[in-house]
Amino acid sequence: MPERDLVKTGISGLDPILFGGIPRGNLIVVEGAAGTGKTTLGVEFVFRGAAEFDEPGLIVLFEVAPERILREAALFGWNLQELEEQGRIKILFTTRRVFQQELQQADSLLLDEARQIGARRLFVDSFAPLNERGDNGQSPRESFHILAEGLQRENLTAMMALEIPAHEETRLTTAMPEEFVSDTIMVLRLEPVQRAAVRSLEVLKSRGHDYQMGRHTFRIVDGQGVEVYRRVQAPRGLEREDAAAYDTSRRIATGIPGLDPLLGGGMWPGATTLVVGVSGVGKSVMALQYLAEGARRGERGLMVTLDEPAAQVMRNAGTIGIDLQGEIDRGMIELWYDPPQEMEIDRHFARLETLVRTFQPQRVVVDSLSTYGSSLGKANQSFRDFLHACVGLMKEHQITAVYNHENPEMLGMTSMMGEMTVSSLVDTIILMNWVETGDTFRHGLTVAKMRASPIVRRTHECEIVDGLGLRVLPRAIEGAVPIMPFPAYYGLIARAPERRPRAAADVSADGA
């Protein structure tokens, strides 16, 4: 649909979900229970129209005093009073009955008010579902249709708030004639998450154009208004997928002494690397070194930290000789701490997209993926979708991203990611765990996967040196067993090989 035929709501994050806006002249029903944000959304729709798109608007209220709307709007920084004085907005109080009667009259006083300011938008707050016959014996559906016709005569893009029961089950069993007659339906919900609540917005219908389906998170932000965050799982466009092709002419240095040779010279640009290991094994240290190396080479880096606050990350960096604050001041590194408690994943991802777009990092570290896992609940699909969205975002911008993931197993590793089986989404996997020799735990590092690059899956010892950080040691682990041909072992199918006694192995090797 041509852009001129679409009415942009101007509400942060909503127009992308509506693929640009709402077809001009549509009758929009915004459904929601008490407290879901219908009034704020509707008032902002009219405010943005008048303030940003030169589209005057009329706000019709049935229950809330206009004075209160003016006061609440001021909290969001919307000066409705000024717009009213300029003749770009009118706020009118009436009753539902009068409103319905007015829309059935050719010389409607209400529509005359709209005409006087050249109104293009209308917000009506609010209707309860019509479930009784009208004064003239009309069915609820007919009543609403008459009302809709009245609005369409004026070519107004009208938004009507519709009060619905809080309980979804009740809503689904209630006949809603408004839903059939209206052109666009948005449902606002307050959804319980654990013991908290999250606001969500869902477009159920929009005649004449496509939109992004599903429930998107939104917030009502002081000093701003409504901010909608697109559902993280929603596809973003083919350009993200197309951008996945690698530049094979160069490698990205990790900054970890001894690691790049194990990766064939470094990571591929735009590659996704997963660093898996038990807590305390050095994943965050490796991440800091990776970013510091980028800064040294003039490549901007972003660290998303979920587990440790910024001050703590800076302290940790200091102990391995990295002046993180200095790099932040130089504009080479950005540190973003988002506490994981009650994380709204759509909002988090929207912020990440904004940071990627504005800061334009070439390196990104996420510390750690497991924390997202606990925020997203137990549904593996949500986690996978989220990581897929992250991977797509990074590839679109050709960012070489490192995701740390905490594996609960201290010694050895029976699975890379436990319940969160997303390792197929990543290009490179580095396993870090402890190796117990005698009474000492030593660091072991194995490159378990690297797409488009031959690797040797050999475990190397590494160490963290105070003031210097992590390094992979050139020597093999002390006392390591020499590699023998398969016939020297039994239990291969069970993946628990044990060496055969030497004589037996020799016999087997001879083919006896």
């Binding site: 209160r68 009118k90 009436t94 009753t95 009068v98 009667q101 006083l109």
Partner: protein, 137 residues
């Protein structure tokens, strides 16, 4: 406070009773209103005759304008916040915005009403004319 209230009420002669005052407050918070007299009476809490009289007074004083389309059950009322009042109208509205302020003004109106009783029953029409005179003074 009493002297301030008296001073304000002296400058706003159209406010003579509780209905005038409450109607004024209603329109101050609902400055553009499309409503029937019946609904207005229900919202403000006075009988319809009282409401009609107070409406006439406020309209005559220029504080309120009303659409003239008699074919409609509802009328459009527009509150004129900048009606000539020498700044006394906003002062009154600010005063009665609180519960205590409203109670104090109502008490003052009661006293004034009692004081008027000997020459009792100044017709509302005359009152309205007096309000117009003040407006044009």
């Amino acid at each position: 406070v009493t002297s301030t209230i008296d001073k304000i009420l002296d400058r706003l002669p159209m406010i003579q009773d509780a209905c005038d005052l409450d109607l004024l407050r209603f329109f101050a918070s609902h400055p553009r209103c499309l409503i029937t007299s019946e609904d207005l009476a229900a919202y403000v809490g006075y009988d319809i005759q009282q409401i009609a009289r107070s409406l006439d007074t406020l309209i005559a004083a220029g504080v309120l304008s009303r659409s003239q389309n008699r074919t409609h059950a509802a009328r459009m009322y527009v509150f004129n916040r900048s009606a000539p009042s020498g700044g006394w109208l906003p002062s009154l509205l600010q005063l009665v915005a609180s519960r205590e302020g409203r109670a104090a003004v109502l008490a003052a109106l009661k006293i004034r009403s009692a004081a008027r009783r000997p020459d009792a029953g100044e017709p509302r029409g005359r009152r309205a004319r007096r309000a117009v005179e003040v407006r044009h003074a």
